[in-house]
Symmetry: C2
Subunit: 277 residues, 2 copies
DNA sequence: GAATACCCCCAGTAATTCTATGCCTGTATA
DNA sequence: TATACAGGCATAGAATTACTGGGGGTATTC
């Protein structure tokens, strides 16, 4: 059973490490389960190569059925959760999105939809909606989902720091904050701005933390439109330069395939409709 | 996961005890799993009544999807086993059938189909083919499957004992062997024979054991046609009376729904074709 | 009014699964 | 050519999970 899950994930994702990631276990655990399954059925499911594993013929043959079965199981579990407590919604979002975009909107949404109980989980990677018990996701994606806003980046900083920034080249003289997983943001924007200057500064593992530091005047942050607009509106942050770089990705809402339940439809409408905030 | 299995079985079979039976665990284990699932999803899946449990509205709603998902999983596992080792067949049969009917036929079948590796498991109850990894079952059923022979019962005994049996009433004077799960055999046959006589004798939990005892002259056994015909042919047992009671059930072969693999087709043809033996 | 057939609860135990570690192999980098 | 690195293997011990076995309760059945 567990072995089937491990095999399905490894086969679908093409590696034990990735499967381990999805299943939230160590690669060793996946390897063990796959090996147990191979012993049970008496045939090799993968060919082991130095650079990873590739599906054997038997594996190729059984993967579609297995994937379909697990998807059906995931759908049944989702149906169970919804039938049990129709007003409960569970949203998964990138930590930065959850804290900087979703969280400020929740009070108004909870007031508008008082019968809903909305839970939020912060995840680094978008979950597999067909398997995990989430009702909605808010992540940056390639535009396949329900788009909220294009991701645009531009430097932002506390107002008192903006006086030091006359030209783009002045950035070399101040700390330039950035996020670890979005390490390319500064180079991309600098290229867009046509600047040759090298910038440097502290790197944060949590974007919200970098925003916090920028609010306190710790440096210039490379801001993401949707995540800093609130502070731009309030004046707590300002954008010292006019140049904006558009990234090829959108902040978007994802829902399970199939019929949207009324509460889910109401929530997604509220979230998508307020994109201009 | 385990909880989903437990719930599905309990809901489908209408009781924790029956589910426990199918899953080969104690009823307490099923109750625990179902309770855990109810706590996880936050709604009652069953209504507890004194005479058992009945599905709640939520339970009714999610059962079909869950059953379908588990069936799909079972089918995928079956596909895996077959793809891994196409020549391996696993037959489930009633212990008596396995020992007295199937086992004598296997040598000839193995000779005819040398590429097949045929395993046999003795089970008291027919397994759920959609879930358990069996390729074929041989049980007594109501005629829905591939019938082999109608179940007929009649007394049989060792030849030296037959001399003591002039009339049906003489049965009261000799030990009348019977099987624990087929306790009604003697009353049914006696009613068919129109006799008022009361018979008694040792009861066996294993029909094959009762046959063995009858061969040794320990008493008169209520014989099942398919299970004693071999000994009647060899003369090791004789039927002292002409009356035969036909039971409303047939010895029959069951296979998974869908396409029969060539090895399975060959095996079922051999087994069904040799029913006259 | 016993016997039966269910299910509930709890504590201890048994089984499974996971982590942690060191090792190996082939690829990519310097 | 040397060196890091990514991915998988193997084992033992640890943690989690699931199961058993006991006692108890409540309706139906004969």
């Amino acid at each position: 059973m567990t072995a089937l899950r491990a095999f399905e994930a490894a086969a679908r994702l093409g590696g034990f490490a990735r499967a381990a990631d999805e299943l939230c276990v160590t690669p060793g655990a996946v390897a063990q389960q796959v090996k147990a399954l191979e012993e049970w059925c008496g045939a090799a499911l993968f060919e082991r190569r130095a650079q990873g594993v590739v599906l054997s013929w038997v594996g190729v043959r059984v993967l579609p059925g297995l994937t379909g079965a697990f998807d059906a199981l995931g759908a049944a579990v989702g149906e169970l959760r919804q039938a049990a407590l129709p007003g409960r919604l569970h949203v998964a979002a990138l930590p930065a999105v959850a804290q900087l975009w979703l969280s400020p909107r929740l009070p108004a949404i909870r007031a508008a939809l008082p019968d809903l109980e909305i839970s939020v989980s912060a995840l680094e990677q978008p979950p597999n909606m067909a398997r995990e018990p989430f009702d909605m996701t808010v992540f940056y994606g390639d535009g396949a989902g329900l788009g909220i806003a294009r991701d645009v980046i531009f430097p932002v900083c506390a107002p008192q720091l903006a006086g030091q920034l006359e030209t783009v080249e002045d950035l070399a003289a101040v700390p330039c904050l950035s996020d670890a997983v979005w390490a390319q943001d500064w180079p991309i924007w600098l290229a867009e701005a046509g600047a040759e200057v090298q910038v440097s500064g502290p790197v944060y593992s949590l974007y919200a933390l970098a925003v916090e530091e920028a609010l306190h005047g710790a440096g210039v942050l490379i801001g993401h439109g949707a995540l800093v607009s609130r502070h731009l509106d309030s004046g707590a942050l300002v954008a010292p330069f006019g140049t904006r770089a558009e990234l090829p990705r959108w902040l978007e809402i994802g829902v399970r395939d199939g019929a949207l339940s009324p509460p889910l439809r109401a929530l997604s409408r509220l979230l998508a409709g307020k994109s201009s905030l």
